[in-house]
Every structure is written in C-alpha cells, then in structure tokens.
Assembly symmetry: C2
Amino acid sequence: MPETIKNISRAPFRRVVQDLSENKGANILRYGWGKPDVISLGQGEGCAPTPDFIADACAQAMRDGKTHYGPVLGQPALRKEISDYYKRIFDLDLPSNRIFITASGTTAMHLALTSILDAGDEAVAVTPIWKNLLGAVEVAEAHTVQVAIDYIEDENRWLLDLDRVFDACTEKTKAILIVTPSNPTGWYMCENHMKRLIDFTRERGIWIVSDEVYNRAVYGKPRAPSFLDVAEDDDLLLVINSFSKSWAMTGWRLGWLVGPAFAEDVIRDIALYDNMGPPTFTQFGGIQAVKEGEDFIQEQMDQWQSNIEMLMARLGKNPRVKIARPRSTFYAFFKVDGEEDCIAFTKKLIDEGGVSLTPGCAFGEECKGWIRLCFAVSPEKLSKAIDRIEKVIGA
Amino acid sequence: MPETIKNISRAPFRRVVQDLSENKGANILRYGWGKPDVISLGQGEGCAPTPDFIADACAQAMRDGKTHYGPVLGQPALRKEISDYYKRIFDLDLPSNRIFITASGTTAMHLALTSILDAGDEAVAVTPIWKNLLGAVEVAEAHTVQVAIDYIEDENRWLLDLDRVFDACTEKTKAILIVTPSNPTGWYMCENHMKRLIDFTRERGIWIVSDEVYNRAVYGKPRAPSFLDVAEDDDLLLVINSFSKSWAMTGWRLGWLVGPAFAEDVIRDIALYDNMGPPTFTQFGGIQAVKEGEDFIQEQMDQWQSNIEMLMARLGKNPRVKIARPRSTFYAFFKVDGEEDCIAFTKKLIDEGGVSLTPGCAFGEECKGWIRLCFAVSPEKLSKAIDRIEKVIGA
C-alpha cells in the first residue's frame, strides 16, 4: 500500500478488479519470456507477418489521409465488405447494419458482455475456453458456470453433452458463451447442436455469445458451422470475429461483432464511451483482407495441416501422450501420462526443455493436466519444439 | 421489440445501457451530416492529416513485421519515449512503469473509470466537460455530481470556484473528473488550484482523473500545468492523454494513461480483458510523434493562434455574442444573445446557415445556450464558417 494513502480505509481500486482470479496462461507466458533460448508456442498466433497486400492497403490509406475520426462502428466500406464476405463464403445474407467493426476480437467480446451482463448475473461457459472470456465476466461482476467438453478416451475425441448446458442454465442465466471452433481443443459444434441450442435460448430469452474467430481454420472444409447459419435475424445472438487468426493480423487489433439489427444502437453507444471505435486506416487493410485473402488462408491451412501430420506422427504416437487430432484451429491440446499438475509441467518444459506451452487449467476448472501447443509456426520450428518436448517426456 | 423475443419478460440488454441519456452533441453532428453543403466545425479535430514523418514510421514498422501481438500496456520503446518526453517538455521524472499505452484517449478514460467506479459510487465532474466522460460514468452505473466553471461576465473569462468542488464531495465520492485544459471553454486549472485539490483528495482518499489531452495546446506557453507537476508518485491520480490533438492523429486511436506504479497491474488486467492493448505498428508512429513532433506542434499552434485573432476580430466584436478569448485548446465557446435553446439554435445554424457546431448542453447541465466551435481548420474554412454564422445572427 503506497505511503500517502496508508491511512485511507478503503481500497484504492474496485474490489472486483483488485481481486481478479489469477491468469495462469499469462503467468506461464511471462515465466517463459524471462528465460534465454526458449521456443514459445504459448501464444495464439502464427509466425507469419501480415501479408503485404493487406499492409500495403493500410499504408495507402494513411497516405490518402484516412487519419481522421471515423464512425464508431467502423467504415461503411468495411461493414459492406464483410457483409459480402458472409454471402460469398457462408451463403448468408447479413446486411451491414448487423456488422459492427471493433478494436479487436477482445473488444467485440467485451462490448458484447457489457451490453448483456449485470452484476450478479450468470453466464454459462462451455470450457475449455479462452481465459479472456472468463476474465471479462469477472470484471462485469457476473458469475461463470462452467460446462466442460469431454475428452472421450475410447474414441480419442472431444464431445459436448448439450443436455449439461441446458441443465446449467437457471433463471439468472443471461448468456451462454461458446468458442466454436474451440480454442484449445479443436472441437467445433455441429449444426444440429447449434439448432437445438438456439431453440432452447430463444425460449428462455438467453443470449448466445459465440466466439467464431477460428471459423475459417477447419480442416477438410472451407469453414465451420456458424450460429448465424441457424439463427433468425433478430435472435439473441452475438457472434465475435477477428482478423487476427485467418489473416495473420494479431497486432492490428481489429475485429467485428455480428448481432441483431436492434443491437446496433446499444453497441454503438457503449463503444462510443469505451473506445470510440477502431483506427481509421487499418480498416482499409481489413477490407483488402476479406476481399483478397482466400489464397493466403488456403496457404496457411495447408501449412497447418502438414504440421498436424507431424504432430500426430510424433506426439500422437508417444505412448505417454493423449492427443486427439485437431479438427480445427492451430492448437494441439494434449495430456502426458503421469503429469497431472499442468502448471508444474509447463514450468518443467520451459526449464528443462526450453519450450513454452500453455497450461490447460488456464482454460477452465476441468482442464487440469492438459497442455496447449500452438502449431501455427514453420515446420522447422515445430520440429525443434517437439524435439525439446521429447527430451522431457521421452519419445 | 423483435418478433422472436416478444414473449420474453426481461429486456434484452442491461437496463443501464438501454437507458443511457441522450448524446446531444452526437445527435446534432448526425443531423448536420444529413444535409448538403454544411461546413462542420462540430467535431474535435483539425483538418490536417497526420504528418508524413509519423505515418512513414508506422508504415515502416508494418514492413518490418511489427504485426504481431505486443504487450498489453504498450511497446516498451514507446513507454520509454513518453517518459523521456515528460522529462524534456515537462521536466518531470516519470518512469516507464507509470505510463500505460492505451487504444485511444477514450480507452484511457474508460480503463481509469473501470478501475475505480463501482455501481452507486459518485464522481464529481467539473463541467462543461467532454460528454464521453459523463457517458462512461453512466455505463459504470455510478452517479455524476456536476460542478460548473463559471463564466464571469464582467471579466469575460471562465473561473472555477474550487470550494464548490470540495463541497460537492461526499462519502460516496470516488473520483473527481477534470478536463484541463478544458474542452470546450479553453480554461485551464492553475498550479495553485491543482495543489489545493490534490491536498484535499489525498486526505479523503479520492482519485483525481485528469484529462490533459490539450496540455500542449495552450497559448503563450509551451504547455499547461499538469496535476503531475504537483503530485507525489503514489498519489491517487490518473492522467489521460492522447496523440489525437497535438499530433493530428485522431484516426489512430492511440492514447496513454499516467498513473501510480501500483496501478500498473490493475490497469493491465482490465485492459487484457477489455481490448488486449493498442495495435503494434501504430505505436511506432507514436514514438516518432513524441520524438520529432515539436515543430509540427508549433506550426499548428501558430495557425490556431491566428484563427483566434480572426474569431475575436469578428465574433468577439459582434454585439450579440459573448465569447472569452480561448486561453487553450482549439475551441471557441460562445453565446448569442436571444438564443437560449442551444439545440434549436445549432439546428438553425445548420438549416439556415449551413454550418454545424456543437450545442453547449452536450457538456453539462449548466451550459445551456452556449455553443462550441472547433477552429482547428484552415483560415479560409473558418472565415467562410463565420460568414455563415453571421448570415444567421447578423454581423
């Protein structure tokens, strides 16, 4: 406690933000940064910089003087371009007024939750889930009820028992939070389950907040099912998306939210007082990305697919390792026999192996013992990282 | 109410975000956008695009592959550069760990308030004040108690009675919100008042949240007094700043917060779940701005100073107009005799004059009848705008 405020009885910050639960993933990431010669596969991004055709469009927009304030919910041209993209790739008719450009996928999530969750409300979260979603619920002073996707050992795959999601909902439930395709398991929800879930929430007046930032990163298909496929225009559905993953634009902090048209004014008002919208010129990079990005997406998918083959040929055949073949995303989620404490184990991997991964317990209560590895890297880097893991766990 | 949720008893959104008070400034701005041939001096930004030396540094950073995730509180090089800038321009020693880079000045404000204000808390706001600060307090479900800076007719200047600020504070007061230099009056707080205020808040355990985005836009001095001049390192002080105004970077959405070192972890945690930090490559533009921006700042100030002379020679001599010479910022705040309803009057100026200004009532309860004009434009545009105002009010 600082000297000058020692005699003040109350805490300087809100109790809720002072007492946020530990961010175990971020802590291990930082632990790894402190060590020399550590290969980090701990963060959710690829090695590749943003492709030139996107960066060039952004630089040109700057030269064209697109450096002034813009509309809070984004450039009309980008909103229109994303509308066209949904028509072209998803065969969905989403008018521009349902597409809200945000200053990152995280911002999309934050605006969605800020519009819905009052203190004391409940949100049901399908886990393992991205820690930031859980953290944002905490900041909103709401409670998370976690329902885990199960690892089915016999079938070596992940499966969600939808009835457990229904059972977890109470009178206090305002939203169900789902990341599909799932970071970190690579599971994604099938259209039939989406239909059943949206029928359920429609009846109960519960929002679905669906984080679909990996919806182009699905193997053997051009895209994963989306809740937008099964929803009516005015369902209580907010879909989070981002340029970060499919277009290698993590450092751009550019995302979007798809919602019902009646949400437009509410999201605009919150964003106005929250951040006043994303930068102006970066959105012109975003336009180019969705317009011309298909070849790049395919190249990335080909590389990630071949990295999966390497992973399954090595970790997948390791007698100590449980790992389901990732059906989507660029994460492998695995468990090593005899290593039940994933915090201690990820530290050991850093200290003894020189490779930084993410502890599963960062993604929810029931994921203890699991480890996440991001394979959106060059085959050489991945191979070297697996060598290091094998040094610790055996081959 | 949408068809599918008609039978749901509860409101789809949080009551507080559905019932936000009207944003009168934004409404009039939109009203003006709808009309042909309207000169807008209604938004808080200049005509000039961002200078090339800043845009080039950003484009170079993109080419250098600075397109990946970065630290939530900003690039260490930018935090260090701003630390150096405070030493050079303000003669203040602020280590990097007290400087938090944010995805806009608005974001800095939002993070500051989110760290402090619980539902039901009170914030004392010195008005007229930027509407977004009032809006952000509303979203936080806290209450604003407004204390107005007075227009002293005899002396034709703005004056704050500090005792009224002290008197407005109660047991529930968590923060005092001040914009100094003041948008829209051009008033700024003197160092002596800052000392008295910080002594008061130190004793009471109240935060000062000081929006100092115009602190380089003061006439006849290189910079305005800052609360940082009079504060101890660990006082309950959060200072909001932004690249928008002094470096013509409104469309960049880049700002910063200066706080006590003990706030670093709290602000980082909130920002992590809120937006995960500003874009990576734009921050390299920010580095160049604070490093090499002094000539540009001086050029802008010279132009704004000469625009003030024009304003005072024309509006200042208009028998119907009350206007104090702006001591800072790029706003003229004035009142026209016989025009008491500033909403109706700003609409009339758009409809009959073709010039869009901002109604004073957007800045607080006691500012009815006043009008804000942004003069950060070319002399030609300003002259034409004054012609149009005179067409409506007479010369």
